[in-house]
Amino acid sequence: MNPTLGRWGKLGLGSYFWAIVVFLYTPLVVLLVFSFNNSTIATLPYSGFTTKWYRLAFQNQEMVDAIFLSAKIAILNSIFATALGVVGAVGLSARRVFGRSIITALLMLPLVVPYIVLGIGMLILINQVNVDQSMWVVLAAHMVITVPYTILVVLPRLRTLDESLPEAARDLGSSDVGAFFRITAPLITPAVVSAMIISFIISFDEYAIASFLVPPGEKTFPIFVYGGTKVPEQRPELLAIGSTVIAVSLCVILVAEFGRGWLERRQTGRDSLAVAAE
């Protein structure tokens, strides 16, 4: 049945896999466990259960502001970056693209440029055109790093689409734009939603670039967390808020991943029905 491994090999490999999974999840569990610890320092033995850090955390105005600011940037980013990415992906899905390899390389470049170069590059750019550090600059930089991800999510979906569908719409008198919004757009919606979620998550969590571009005094959530790691008194509250954020993001990607699979299966089911009806 499995020609590559014996029984012991399988067992060993399986144990290794699950050991690594434990390793990957341990920090998340530690964060959660010690966010309920009735002590200002996270150390064993455990000092008893409390939820006061959660109460204190959500009363901490600075922290709440930071979360809202990051959420604002991340929402705008997920809209703009995904729009830009969908436009680019539709362009790249054309049969013939002049200079395809160069354009593809350019659009994928942000994936490999070190964040520190992006951060200081942006800093130098705004300095050159006399713009102050602001949240808009952070947004502009986050769009740069998320556009390639949106293209990588949307483009494969566009390629699996039956090209005859929009063509049929055009033959029936629809314009290119009309055919896109009536036919293509609904079919790529699951991928677009995934792209939006991914760009939201990346932006919400991004520290390295933002650290160069936030104006003094203002804090995105990662910048707040970074500052908090230097202040031991804030740590229990940070653990509480961190556990919450991690739990929420795990739920979001769980729903997103399975939701997308479900939607695409449903659509493919419909597609094959349409084919069968012909």
Partner: protein
Amino acid sequence: MAVAEEAPVRPAPTRRAGRRRFVPGKAWLTVPPALYLLLVLIFPIVLLALYSVFLLTNLIGVTNVFSWSAWQEFFPSNPFTWKPWSTESVFWNRFTLSMCVTLIVSLVVTVMAYPLAYFLAFVSERRRYVFLFILLAPFFTSFLLRVLAWQVMLNDSGVINSALWQLGLLQDGQPLEIFGMGIFRTWFSIGLVLGYSWIPFVALPIFVVLENMDRRVIEAAQDLGANRFVTFLRVTLPLSLPGVIAGFVFVLIPTTGEFVTPQLVGGTDTYMFGQAIQDLFIGTAIQWNTGSVLAIWLMAVVVVLIALSSRFLVMDLREGTE
């Protein structure tokens, strides 16, 4: 834009229409994102290059005259007598040290990730995508919060140390040491956290290659008398090398300029190249011209790495194009 125009009515799609005529197609839609990246990504890199040769400067009272001086200071004056511990060319030493650490981390992570990919591709059967999801999920939670969790675990009175004290495995109040190295604010903690962050991401390209591998080749090798080990060594491993190289480069590139992890879990002895760049731009010793030299050099190294491995990196994008 051209898209808004009515498409010409096409003849039956048996043969591609409009080959000779110029039809402004949807390929033009690549222009807006490409322009955006030219403006916000390429243009700043050009600015950095200008800074590195003093055609631009943030120093007051210094006129912008072309000069290689910042580059000359960066490279060791005589590469043949250069020693890693010499005090001359400080930033170059910083670079070589960081590069060594990065290479070791990438190598270890890739070796550790391979069995994960192998397990997913060959053992986990139908549930492979669920397992893959389990492996990748932590990657989508906040990086900073995971590093914070490591701080909580690794510090001198942290969870690991205090657990060992409680269990009596370590003398009370004495932090754990591995190979004579503390576990926090050392190269050990940096390597651990970097490895932790990247393992799932490295396993992914290896998994993709293994999964798409033609199983008949493996069966053929065994029919021809190779045992499992030889089959792996001479068939599976060589065929999966593109994924291995892609995974290796996936860690290498982002960790080369890493400055957040060493700031959070590193100490004074573990000052890395990325931190040096950061300090030259917004830190204590601001000097944008020198900083630009370091940044451009980092970019150059990354470009060379990509050029060497591009064959393996762009594979998934070319796929499906005619």
